[in-house]
């Protein structure tokens, strides 16, 4: 393990622990894919349910150092490292920026992964909601009340996830709740009509 944290360029011990070696300033390869990546750590934050303060600023500062544009004149090896580091950085930022992705990642860090089984009650409720939406659309009724109802459910669900995560609750239940967010999102997309054709 020691060798992986040694800078490939100057050999400084621990040089590869950072994206840029502190002693020679060379870009380092990202950690091996095998290790479970902590997206919070990639940007230098502690795991948290809320968006870490200063996320945008930290992301921009790191992007300015690591982006392939900064290595257009560098060796092929450095260009590859820069590409890998920036890919990883972009992915981490995308995860941390979005409340649902961020919560999913928190669960991942606690060992909860994969698609949870949705409860039949919830699926039934979803079908009903969609039927109502379809009816309302056919009859030309305003959809705002329906959308508001689903938005309320979505926000409540996220609050519940927070409670479970922060107070040591049932994490597999939290995972199922999070999976519901996708259904809500799709519903709301549909309300907005996806008015803009793809």
């Amino acid at each position: 393990m020691k060798t992986t944290s040694t800078c490939w360029s100057c050999g400084a011990p621990g040089g590869a622990a950072e994206p840029i070696c502190p002693s020679c300033g060379k870009v380092q390869p990202p950690p091996p894919a095998g290790a479970r990546p902590d997206r919070f750590a990639t940007l230098g934050f502690e795991p948290s349910f809320d968006e870490p303060e200063g996320l945008d600023e930290r992301f921009r500062a790191l992007a300015r150092k690591l982006h392939p544009d900064r290595f257009a004149r560098a060796t092929a090896q450095e260009r590859r490292y820069s590409l890998e580091q920036t890919t990883r950085l972009n992915d981490a930022y995308k995860t941390l920026k979005d409340p649902v992705r961020r919560a999913e990642h928190l669960l991942q860090l606690r060992g909860i992964e994969g698609d949870p089984k949705m409860s039949p009650e919830f699926l039934e409720q979803t079908m009903e909601d969609r039927e109502k939406l379809l009816e309302a659309k056919m009859s030309g009724q305003p959809l705002e009340a329906l959308a508001a109802g689903v938005r309320e459910k979505r926000d409540e669900t996220l609050r519940e996830v927070r409670r479970l995560l922060e107070n040591g609750g049932d994490l597999s239940h939290a995972a199922e709740l999070l999976a519901r967010m996708r259904y809500y999102a799709r519903y709301l997309d549909e309300v907005e009509g996806r008015s803009v054709e793809l």
Binding site: A63, H67, P68, D69, A72, T87, V196
Partner: protein, 649 residues
């Protein structure tokens, strides 16, 4: 005025500044430009065509085929009316497009070569066949050599702009054209991003901006945020087949009316329409083909086209988190078509903002590209900004039932990667087809197919046990590479998605050979050699099969094949590579059935003593696999299904 700046004080600046030989190029549908960053940090477009910075993207292929017979720019445009089929304009519309695209043939006067290649090919003077990449390369080469003349230095590196909405195939084709023209393509930069770069630096502004870019052939909308020296593209959208050319065509339709449409007439009408459109940006009435056209007639004709930009704009604004443009700090106009008053009016309505147009909309993209070229190559760049761009379209894979599973969503910041695991669906399955798609739709058939490849050598396991991880990696140019890796054995395969624009490796090689600016004769010679080699190869192969499997043929069939072999031999002795090629194709046709029978026999032999399940599909050609499947269906029968019809010698 721009002319003076360049030829007088600008020139010396240019000499000092452009020591790296890195330029910015706007490879446009209608016009192309080349720009550099001067010593004072200001980007400047170079005059390259009869004193103008705009080089019409028009290539004329003259008869004779010698090096001097290719004409580019204004002189080419003047020849377009007389030689509509030998003068390729707006070639950008054909980049990365297949010849099957309906778009390809719409109202265009060109002759298209037939053939099995999926790429568009134009037949020009003297029967010469050129593809869109080669035509674009001519434009790029003209820009490069004329800039070299002006600057007195070698130009060998460039940032080339592409519409943000260009898909992978179109990007690959553009990069290829750059390489063909002798340029190292440092980066493909999205046009709206380039425009924003030119504006952002000029104004030193912070905030969120929309770039509305309506060029000759493409429409792009981008929403960007400038903050702490980082330009972040939040969303892009557009229509890669909508632009000022469509305005010209709409008006040309009116001008042509019921008249007969010869290529010559169509070209004439389009030219007259373009002129009238330009005149009508200033005047209320213009004349075209002996008719009076007023502004409201033009506007009625193009209004539906202009309104087509509304959908992509609304979607991009929503994706960027500024629905309906609320919270937008400005709208930047790019592209010559935004000079049309009706377009400006529509933009004002759409965004509720007065659009910015203080940098020449024709030049702004090239200027931005020059800035990016400087950022990428200069020891200490003139400006310290970073561009973060996004994928224009979602990227995914075909899954069961013809559905698309998206791995990377549109508007994801690049570089980006994503990995998804798939499993086998049949017991003992040893190969897996990977089909890469680009687009937003659910069904495979509604998206653009980028590539297909097969991962073979998966260990035979019960269905669902093998795990294949497919990884997509999009680089900073927006170009995709795909890796499939079987997790147990580590068997893996990587491709850069490139067969997409329809050119085979041999074609690219041929184009590269042809591009070393040698005379047409050399190319002909090369093609002749290639075709002779191919003829020898296929004759040898056929002979071998006749020797070992001749019993599969009737006397008449054998005679038929042998006669065609003689024809190939004869053609190979002559000097016409087209003739050799044609005879080879014929031989392929005549012996196709024989080849299939040989294949069937091979499978039959291979299967003796093997159970069907043990057979490794991965090692079989597509043809053989089909035969194999048929065989499997007939399992238990004495032999292949068609054995009864087989002639017995």
């Amino acid at each position: 005025m721009a002319l003076f700046q360049i030829s007088e004080p600008g020139e010396s600046h240019a000499r000092q500044a452009c020591t790296t030989g890195a330029v910015g190029i706007d490879l446009g549908t209608t016009n192309s430009l080349i720009a550099i960053v001067l010593a004072d940090g200001k980007p400047q477009a170079l005059a390259v065509d009869e004193g103008s910075a705009l080089l019409p993207s028009v290539v004329h292929y003259g008869a004779g085929g010698g090096p001097g017979s290719v004409v580019i720019g204004r002189p080419a445009r003047r020849l377009a009316a007389e030689f509509p089929r030998d003068t390729i304009a707006s070639v950008k519309r054909f980049m990365g497009r297949s010849s099957a695209d309906p778009e390809t043939r719409r109202l265009s006067p060109y002759r298209f070569a037939e053939g099995d290649s999926s790429v568009v090919r134009f037949v020009v003077a003297g029967g010469r066949v050129v593809n869109p990449v080669e035509v674009s390369a001519e434009v790029l080469r003209a820009l490069r050599t004329r800039a070299e003349d002006r600057l007195g230095i070698k130009v060998n590196q460039a940032v080339i702009t592409v519409p943000a909405y260009f898909d992978d195939a179109q990007r690959q084709a553009t990069k290829e054209a750059g390489r063909l023209a002798g340029l190292e393509v440092l980066r493909l930069l999205n046009e709206p991003t380039a425009a924003a770069l030119a504006y952002g630096l000029d104004k030193r502004s912070q905030g969120t901006f929309a770039v509305y870019d309506l060029g000759g052939g493409t429409f792009d909308i981008s929403v960007l945020q400038l903050h702490q020296g980082v330009f972040e593209v939040k969303a892009v959208g557009g229509d890669s087949a909508l632009g000022g050319d469509d305005f010209d065509r709409a008006l040309a339709e009116i001008l042509l009316g019921e008249q007969d449409r010869t290529p010559h007439k169509v070209r004439q009408a389009i030219d007259a329409a373009r002129q009238a459109k330009e005149d009508l940006t200033r005047a209320e009435v213009a004349e075209a083909m002996g008719r009076q056209i007023n502004r409201s007639q033009l506007e009625a004709a193009i209004r539906p086209l202009i309104e087509k930009t509304g959908g992509p704009v609304r979607r991009a604004l929503k994706d960027a988190g500024v629905p309906d443009g609320k919270g937008l700090d400005g709208v930047i106009l790019v592209g010559g078509s935004t000079r049309v008053p009706a377009v400006r009016r529509y933009v004002r309505e759409l965004f509720g903002l007065e659009p910015l147009a203080d940098i020449d909309p024709d030049e702004v993209v090239a200027l931005g590209a020059a800035v990016q070229a400087d950022l990428l190559t200069a020891e200490s760049p003139q400006h310290d900004v970073l561009l973060l761009d996004v994928t224009p379209l979602s990227l995914g894979l075909e899954t069961m039932g013809g559905l698309v599973e998206k791995l990377i969503l549109r508007n994801t910041t690049i570089p980006a990667s994503a990995t998804q695991e798939f499993t086998t669906f049949a017991d003992g399955q040893t190969g897996m087809d990977i089909h890469v798609l680009q687009g937003e739709r659910e069904l495979v058939q509604d998206n653009r197919s980028l590539a297909k490849f097969t991962l073979s050598g998966i260990p035979p396991l019960p269905a669902g046990l093998a795990r294949v991880a497919v990884t997509f990696q999009v680089d900073a140019d927006g170009i995709l590479s795909v890796t499939a890796r079987e997790q147990l054995t580590g068997v893996s395969q990587t491709i850069t998605v490139k067969p997409s624009h329809g050119l085979t490796d041999e074609e690219i090689e041929r184009m590269l050979l042809a591009s070393i600016e040698h005379a047409e004769e050399d190319v002909q010679a090369r093609l002749l050699i290639d075709n002779r080699v191919e003829a020898q190869r296929i004759l040898k192969a056929t002979e071998k099969q006749l020797d070992s499997n001749g019993d599969l043929l009737s006397a008449q069939e054998r005679q038929h094949i042998e006669a065609q072999m003689a024809a190939v031999r004869k053609a190979a002795q002559g000097g016409d590579h087209n003739a050799i090629h044609a005879e080879i194709e014929k031989l392929d046709g005549v012996s196709a059935d024989f080849a299939k029978r040989v294949m069937d026999r091979g499978i039959e032999r291979a299967l003796k003593g093997h159970s069907v399940g043990e057979f490794d599909q991965g090692e079989l050609s597509a043809h053989a696999r089909k035969a194999y499947a048929a065989l499997e269906a007939e399992e238990g029968a004495a032999g292949p299904a068609d054995s009864a019809e087989r002639p017995v010698d």
